[in-house]
């Protein structure tokens, strides 16, 4: 593993045992998070985003098994760690923020209590922990943090709660922050406030962020690298400019085309992707996207395309990779 | 296929029967549900037909044949007065089922109605009903029973009154809290926006969503009520001797447990089977009533 990368996922395969049979939820997933970068994950529902996050933090459902692959975090394979070791990594080296901050905040404890509580690993006086909490709250933009430590989560607005959740996630100075749709529930004016704050904090603390969002605009503005997921596969990955300016997988291309924000001329007929997401229990023999792809050729339905690096740092899982781009 | 089901939607009654039949088939498909149903049917049939099946008159005393072990003549042996325990168990089942089904059914209907009104009606009515429920619940069951017995005298009806009154608040509270959680749900708003009236919303959209857990609770309450009946009968406040009940059979047997365990076993087994039967049935009914728990996709 490259020492410049915080996290490297290679060839990850995850399966679920279900009543409909074996669901191959993730297939040959590769992901690289370089140190100090923000990597965006884009994909529609059912693309495998959540399964990927859960594999990283070691919280897969009981009926899930990792059939092959590796997840190296700081050079160590997380898949080989015991439950205890993973617990020490979570929260200290990898933290998470979620769409709804109320899921991470305990409604019956004050913010101060919770922020001091999560520093239980540190052998420092309580006053110092408190001072650190105050500093963290002011860094995420909570006005008058000292007096607000005694407030309870319900006394804060949605935007403030998300800031607190970010403060708590970053307090332990993790190497990696996983942000799962952190701004989806927020209003537009707050969303930009939060992503700017997140970017500033990432800059000053030097951590890496894995940022999941369905909002392409936010991804474009915030991220350095982007991976595009579809039906349990990473269909394309590259720098943010590669993905937005030179999309090379037909799915990426379609996804961008569907975003009404990218359509300059007002239209009442918006582009869509015909067809449906394939059933993961009955995978097609060839490319996962072939059925919905306008450019598919005979080969696409016969052979699963490998992930190929057809340009520097730009991979796509398409037989036509490199030929498709920007038409 | 689609033609018949479209017709089913247009006429109400065949549709209801059809769905009942479909629910029954689903209950039978689950092994535990089928077992529960078989046990419940068995208990009900043997109770209903008790007079036919009982080989002896349940109160016929035969002191010479007292405390006999099971034999071809006395399938479950005899008690301290030489009465045939098998016959007494059958007739006792009748009483146990009568008490539990009638009183729980009554408590269920009243509790459901009051709970729906409390949850969906105006605030003041909710507060009044809650106060009433809390007051009733604050009496210990036995003390309450004593008071009722003093008023009406010991009888089967007294037992049923006690059960109904003490169970109504439990069902009522449960239905109320579920109704409160549902009343602001988006699908209720959507129905109101279509112009659905109070009764339609309560009957078609709230009731089906609260009745599932209630049925479980009720079916699991049946054994509890059977023990209340037994307990009160033991205290002389329920079924008067010599009328047989599972409670009295058990209590009679306790005194002789060192000599012969048969009366206790014979009185205990029906309680266990009935408990299991109603619990399994209740659980599978819940699954059937809630399409989200159905395993087929």
């Amino acid at each position: 593993m490259d020492a410049n990368n915080v996290l490297e996922i290679r060839g990850l395969n995850v399966e679920f045992a279900s009543e409909r049979g074996r669901l191959r939820a993730l297939r040959d997933v590769d992901l690289t998070i370089p140190r100090g970068s923000i990597v965006g994950v884009v994909g529609e529902s059912g693309c495998g985003k959540s399964t990927m996050i859960n594999s990283i933090i070691g919280l897969l459902a009981h009926n899930a098994t990792v059939s092959s692959g590796s997840i190296s975090f700081q050079g160590e394979d997380l898949l080989q760690k015991s439950e205890r070791e993973l617990r020490d990594i979570r929260g200290q080296h990898i933290s998470m923020i979620f769409q709804d901050p109320m899921t991470t905040l305990n409604p019956v404890l004050s913010i101060g209590t919770q922020m001091i509580d999560i520093q239980y690993r540190d052998q420092i006086p309580k006053a110092q922990k408190k001072a650190r909490s105050i500093e963290m709250l002011s860094r995420v933009g909570i006005p008058d943090p000292e007096s607000r430590l005694d407030n309870y989560p319900h006394q804060f607005s949605g935007g403030m709660r998300q800031r607190i959740a970010i403060a708590m996630a970053l307090q332990a100075e993790p190497e990696l922050l996983i942000a799962d749709e952190p701004t989806t529930a927020l209003d537009a004016t707050l969303e930009v406030q939060i992503i700017h704050r997140l970017k500033d904090l990432q800059h000053s603390m030097g951590c890496s962020i894995l940022f999941i969002s369905h909002h392409l605009g936010v991804i474009a503005e915030l991220c350095d690298f982007v991976i595009v997921m579809y039906g349990g596969e990473v269909v394309e990955r590259g720098t943010v400019r590669d993905i937005f300016h030179r999309p090379s997988h037909p799915y990426t291309f379609k996804l961008l085309e569907c975003d009404p924000a990218r359509i300059a001329e007002t239209t009442r007929s918006l582009p869509t992707i015909p067809g449906e997401i394939p059933n993961l229990a009955k995978l097609p023999p060839g490319c996962i996207f072939a059925d919905r792809c306008e450019r598919s050729i005979g080969l696409c339905r016969e052979k699963i395309p490998p992930s190929t690096e057809f340009a520097e740092h730009h991979w796509a899982r398409c037989h036509l990779a490199g030929e498709v781009s920007s038409t | 296929m689609s033609d018949t089901s479209v017709k089913a939607a247009t006429t109400e009654m065949p549709g209801a029967w059809q769905s009942l039949w479909r629910s029954l088939k689903r209950v039978l498909r689950e092994p535990l549900g089928a077992l529960g149903l078989v046990l419940v049917v068995f208990v009900i049939v043997s109770a209903v037909g008790a007079d036919l099946f009982a080989p002896f008159e349940p109160n016929k005393i035969d002191i010479r044949a007292k405390l006999q072990p099971p034999s071809a003549e006395h399938l479950l042996g005899t008690d301290q007065l030489g009465r045939d325990i098998f016959s007494r168990v059958l007739i006792g089942g009748q009483i146990a089922l009568k008490v539990s089904l009638v009183s729980i059914g009554l408590a269920l209907v009243i509790g459901l109605t009051l709970g729906l009104i409390a949850g969906f009606g105006p605030r003041w009515l909710d507060n009044a009903l809650m106060l009433l429920f809390d007051s009733v619940r604050s009496f210990p069951t036995v003390m309450f029973a004593l008071a009722v017995v003093t008023l009406f005298g010991p009888s089967l009806t007294t037992v049923m009154i006690v059960v109904v009154i003490t169970q109504i608040p439990i069902y009522g509270r449960m239905v109320r809290s579920q109704t409160l959680a549902l009343r602001d749900a988006e699908f209720i708003l959507a129905e109101r926006a279509l112009g659905a009236g109070f009764f339609r919303i309560i009957g078609m959209h709230i009731l089906p969503n609260v009745v599932g857990p209630l049925l479980i609770l009720a079916s699991m309450d049946i054994p509890f009520v059977i023990t209340i009946e037994a307990g009160l009968s033991f205290l002389g406040m329920g079924v008067r001797p010599p009328t047989p009940s599972w409670g009295t059979i058990l209590n009679d047997g306790y005194s002789y447990i060192y000599n012969t365990p048969w009366p206790v076993i014979a009185g205990g087994i029906p309680v266990i089977l009935t408990t299991l039967g109603f619990t399994f049935l209740g659980e599978s009914l819940r699954d059937v009533f809630d399409p989200r728990l159905r395993k087929e996709i």
Partner: protein, 327 residues
């Protein structure tokens, strides 16, 4: 174009304390104003977009139009009928004349009912059972592009997009002239979002209905609406033709909202009017113009008095002491 819906100075207030409580706690005015004097018109066949952040009162306003919330003051005239002050029994009959769609596609369908029953429901409620319900159900399914097999399914067995189609069918069942759609594409993937919006557009053309769309998604508003209004704190602060509003907003809040919409282009020039803070609490109404605590142009006048309505040409109007671009 004939006016179908006319709102004049609509006020909706919610009680915060019971009368007794208010006296005990010495509160003179135990109400909050959720909608504070809104006037707008929607013409036949027109699509109107109501945009605002959470707490702006847009959902409350929508509910008063479909007859679920009664305004304390003002007038709502729909197709010649006055809704404010209508007796309860009459109101119940009236409901259904305006089609309604709610935010959660699956959650707005009664979970224990099959799609068939859900689609037959409007006819049963309004005593139209003499119609052939089977035929009506099939007609509705076909109208929204769902296969007849869906009639036997339950809401939880549908995807978000499919459930949304059922919602559209229910809203249109009784041939309303107006459909009020509250966040019709919330929670849907972009490709599915396009399908639903195209469906609504097609049905609008075929049936000649008017649509009131309530959303915070400006990209949606830009493509599908003819006119739009921006709500802030219970008031419409600016309204006008969508084209004009996007190209020449007059109210600073409109500009802030428009610019808070990150573009899906990593190299987009960001020229943003970023707002401070959040929408204040309804319990804490700012004096004068409610926007002044967050407005970069606010001065003493904004604090002292609420601005009057200024009407520009082309049905474009705003309420601001310091409008942009206006000389």
């Amino acid at each position: 174009m004939n006016t179908l819906l006319e709102l004049d100075d609509v006020h909706v207030r919610f009680r915060t304390h019971s009368p007794l409580n208010a006296i005990l706690k010495g509160i003179d005015d135990p109400f909050v104003d959720a909608v504070n004097g809104v006037s707008l018109e929607i013409g036949e066949g027109e699509t109107y977009g109501l945009v605002g952040e959470s707490g702006s009162g847009k959902t409350t306003l929508a509910r008063s139009i479909i007859g679920l919330v009664e305004p304390q003051r003002g007038s709502i005239r729909y197709d010649g009928t006055e809704l404010v002050g209508m007796p309860t029994a009459e109101m119940q009959k009236f409901r259904g004349n305006v089609g309604a769609m709610f935010q959660d596609p699956v959650g707005s369908l009664s979970p224990r009912m099959t799609i068939r029953s859900l689609l037959a429901e409007p006819f049963k409620i309004h005593d139209l059972s003499q119609r052939n319900l089977g035929q009506e159900v099939n007609r509705l399914l076909e109208m929204v592009g769902l296969n007849r097999d869906f009639a036997n399914r339950y809401p939880h067995q549908l995807s978000g997009g499919q459930a949304r189609r059922v919602g559209v069918a229910r809203a249109l069942a009784l041939d309303p002239k107006l459909v009020v759609a509250d966040e019709p594409t919330a929670g849907l993937d972009v490709s599915v979002q396009g399908e639903i919006l195209n469906l609504l557009g097609r049905l609008q053309q075929e049936l000649g209905i008017s649509i009131l769309v309530i959303t915070h998604n400006l990209n949606v508003v830009r493509h599908i609406t003819d006119r739009m209004g921006i709500m802030y704190f219970g008031r419409v602060v600016e309204q006008g033709p969508t084209e004009t509003m996007f190209h020449q907003p007059s109210h600073p809040y409109t500009l802030a909202l428009l610019s808070a919409n990150p573009e899906p282009d990593p190299d987009a020039e960001i020229d943003r009017l970023e707002l401070q803070g959040e929408v204040p609490s309804l319990f804490n109404r700012p004096s004068g113009c409610e926007f002044h605590p967050r407005c970069p142009f606010a001065d003493d006048r904004c604090q002292a008095s609420f601005p009057d309505l200024t009407e520009l040409s082309d049905a474009h109007s705003y309420r601001c002491h310091h409008p942009l671009h206006v000389t």
